[in-house]
Amino acid sequence: MSNKPSQLQKGDPTTTGHEWDGIQEFNNPLPRWWLWTFYACIAWGIGYTIAYPAWPGISAATPGLLGYSSRAEVAEEIAAVETRNAPVNERLEGVELASVGDDAELYSYAVSSGAAVFRTWCAQCHGSGAGGVQASGYPNLLDDDWLWGGDIDAIHQTIAYGIRNEEYDDARYSAMPAYGDMFTAEEISQVVNFVQTLSGGTANDPAQVEAGSVLYADNCAACHGEAGEGDITQGAPNLADAIWLYGGDYAALTYTVTNARFGIMPGWQDRLSEAEIRAVALYVHQLGGGQ
């Protein structure tokens, strides 16, 4: 082996003295401050695990001397936000619902905090986009069709006390009779065929429509209206429009008329603050169908 390039001798001060098959290792000493920085980091790391929660135990991690917990920090932040929002919430509770829109700042606060309330408490049934669950009784809140009324006060009322629940005396209430007990199968078929035509659709069996219309006028029009326009005082759905709560095909209609439905929504009066109810009502009102 040539010793030209490095001309190093074994044990030369600039090598570590290590040698593998004639290959020697330079010693480029690391700056000592670097080593100390490294030690300082280790010391810091140890101190950190003492000061903060760190070592996992059987049921929980060591709590740390400073008593820090991220959960407590979040709770503190939430409390801080609540105190900060308290004056606005008070303002929101103090005004006429219909006039909140005149105060741009208050309105935009209400709509965004209402959106948060909606995602927490309402999305399970009405969907995170408020689109409802098609044909299963959870109404779409984006459209212009309302069971119980779409102006801001009606919406507020619906949310505060709910629908057909047993918690609130003020809950919206109505019950459609189950015609399975009263009608023969043929009569049900006749009225269903007629209902199909109400919204401009074609009946499964046009021959039964005539008889159905009579049955409808006698039994159903009181709630659903002569022309099927519905009645928001009883939450009776409009049967003449393009929107169905439970479905507009023959099978779904037959099921509805035979067994009746009984859609229940909980009331929020005791679960949410008045400011939250107002906020979510305003939020729902501006989703596209508010009146």
């Binding site: 000493p29 690391l30 986009g129 984006l142 459209d143």
Partner: protein, 477 residues
């Protein structure tokens, strides 16, 4: 491993303090000028005023983090225009590449903050404690006496003050400088301002006063990258070995060889802020500050030899001169495919940015279709899609914008909470407007799975308009 019975060497070494000697000459003067200019820019910039009207800050250069705006004289950059900043950073990068491949580590030698502030700190040090020999003596003096304590404390105090001014100037870039200064002095500024200042004061003090070359050698990645960008044509600080060697105290001279121009006076080593010997050739530690050139020229003048034993030269020059060929001209060194390529790229990015700056509309828009649900059936059977349209009014006054959907004649636009088809937005504000597009039952888009169309947002008061393409989802969806 063949053998382990070797004397163990320490793998760690303490920093060797460096005491650069004072030097004067043209490069030293150039460095003074660069220092004055760069520090001047740094300290003065936040105080320059620029009138933008009553609604906007009048600070020429301001990084308004709270409102997410970057003001640079007549240019105002919004967060979504961050590509301008990215572009500038790319230009800075390409610029560094260009300079490095043409002129070596000029950035390190002259303009890098670490160099500038270290230079300033050394200036203070020399001013308080004297030149190299005096400082060496003070360093070697074991034990403290009144004089040493006085000198050290004065020096450190001055360093700290400079550090404080450095950190202090930094925070002015992020808030209205005069207001912040008043708040800082009356102890009413935000804790973040004080913390930032404290951290920057500390790092300046440590890096400029004590760490100095250690930062360049161990902390900075740039020297390593730069080494890969320099070649034999790069003009850098070099030693004309053909002329200097064999130097005075070399083995060859002792053995009777004729001496070269280098008289081994160590002037180049003594002035070096990095503590290296440039005669060993280009090395990672060398920041090419050119102070050794000044030092050597001085000595050459004294002993009556031509200047330039140490000089700015390309590596190929040294070889050419050694072989008595004429070296390439400076321009031939600088203008080569690589530097030309960097210049072209740099200019392209620059032209692109200037172009983008000029075609910026006075407002801009984003359109986000709401797809949860994809579409809503209305009671009359018509189909509605909903879009979140965000309009940024970059005018200095109220802007009124009309929202139009073009793509199918049946499409009807409605705005949530607004009668009519226009929105008015306050100056410098962004507004989120929910927009409904509805088509009657049975029309093409209502039945189709998807219909592409275009939103036009038109400024009612001028001809400016912007568009965004999006799609309408119908019942076929």
């Amino acid at each position: 491993m063949s053998d382990s019975a070797q004397p163990q060497q320490s793998l760690y070494a303490a920093r060797e303090p460096i005491f650069p000697r004072r030097v004067s000459g043209k490069f030293r003067n150039l460095k003074w000028i660069v220092m004055a200019v760069t520090l001047g820019i740094y300290y003065v910039t936040p105080w320059i005023r620029w009138d933008r009207g009553p609604e906007l800050p009048d600070q020429a250069v301001l990084l308004d983090l709270a409102h997410r705006r970057f003001y640079f004289f007549w240019i105002e950059i919004w967060p979504h225009e961050f590509y301008f900043v990215a572009g500038l950073l790319i230009m800075a990068g390409l610029g560094l590449f260009l300079f490095t491949s043409a002129l070596g580590r000029v950035w390190c030698g002259y303009a890098c903050p670490q160099t500038v502030w270290t230079d300033l700190y050394i200036l203070v040090e020399r001013w308080i404690e004297g030149d190299r020999n005096a400082r060496l003596r003070l360093h070697r003096q074991t034990g403290w006496d009144l004089r040493k304590a006085r000198l050290r404390i004065t020096k450190w105090t001055l360093w700290l003050l400079i550090g404080l001014a450095t950190g202090g100037a930094w925070v002015f870039y992020f808030a209205d400088a005069p207001t912040l200064l008043r708040d800082l002095v009356t102890l009413q500024a935000h804790p973040i301002a004080y913390t930032t200042m404290a951290i920057l004061t500390g790092t300046t003090f440590l890096f400029g006063g004590f760490a100095r070359e250690q930062i360049c050698i161990y902390a900075c990645p740039w020297p390593r990258i730069q080494a890969a960008m320099m070649d034999e044509d790069t003009i850098t600080v070099g030693y004309r070995a053909w002329r200097g060697e064999p130097h005075k105290h070399s083995e060859e001279v002792k053995a009777g060889a004729e001496m070269g121009d280098c008289i081994d006076c160590m002037a180049c080593v003594n002035v070096c802020p990095m503590g290296i010997d440039i005669r060993d050739g280009q090395q990672l530690e060398c920041i090419t500050c050119a102070l050794c050139i000044d030092a050597c020229d001085d000595v050459m003048a004294k002993i009556g030899k031509p200047r330039g034993l140490i000089d700015y030269l390309a590596l190929s020059d040294e070889e050419a001169e050694r072989e008595h060929r004429t070296p390439k001209s400076v321009w031939r060194h600088i203008l080569r495919p690589r530097t030309i390529l960097y210049t072209v790229l740099w200019s392209l990015v620059g032209i692109g940015l200037v172009f983008a700056l000029f075609i910026r509309a006075p407002f801009d828009i984003t359109v986000a279709p709401l797809r949860n649900p994809t579409h809503v059936v209305m009671s009359d059977g018509s189909i509605r899609n909903t879009y979140d349209v965000r309009i940024r009014n970059k005018y200095g006054e109220d802007g009124t914008f009309r929202i139009v959907a073009s793509g199918h004649p049946a499409m009807i636009v409605d705005l949530e909470g607004v009668d009519g088809k226009t929105v008015t937005i306050a100056p410098q504000e962004m507004k989120l407007q929910r927009v409904y597009v509805t088509v009657p039952a049975g029309t093409g888009p209502a039945l189709a799975e998807r219909t592409d169309f275009r939103f036009w947002i038109e400024d009612v008061n001028s001809t400016a308009r912007e568009h965004k393409d999006t799609s309408f989802f119908g019942q076929g969806n």
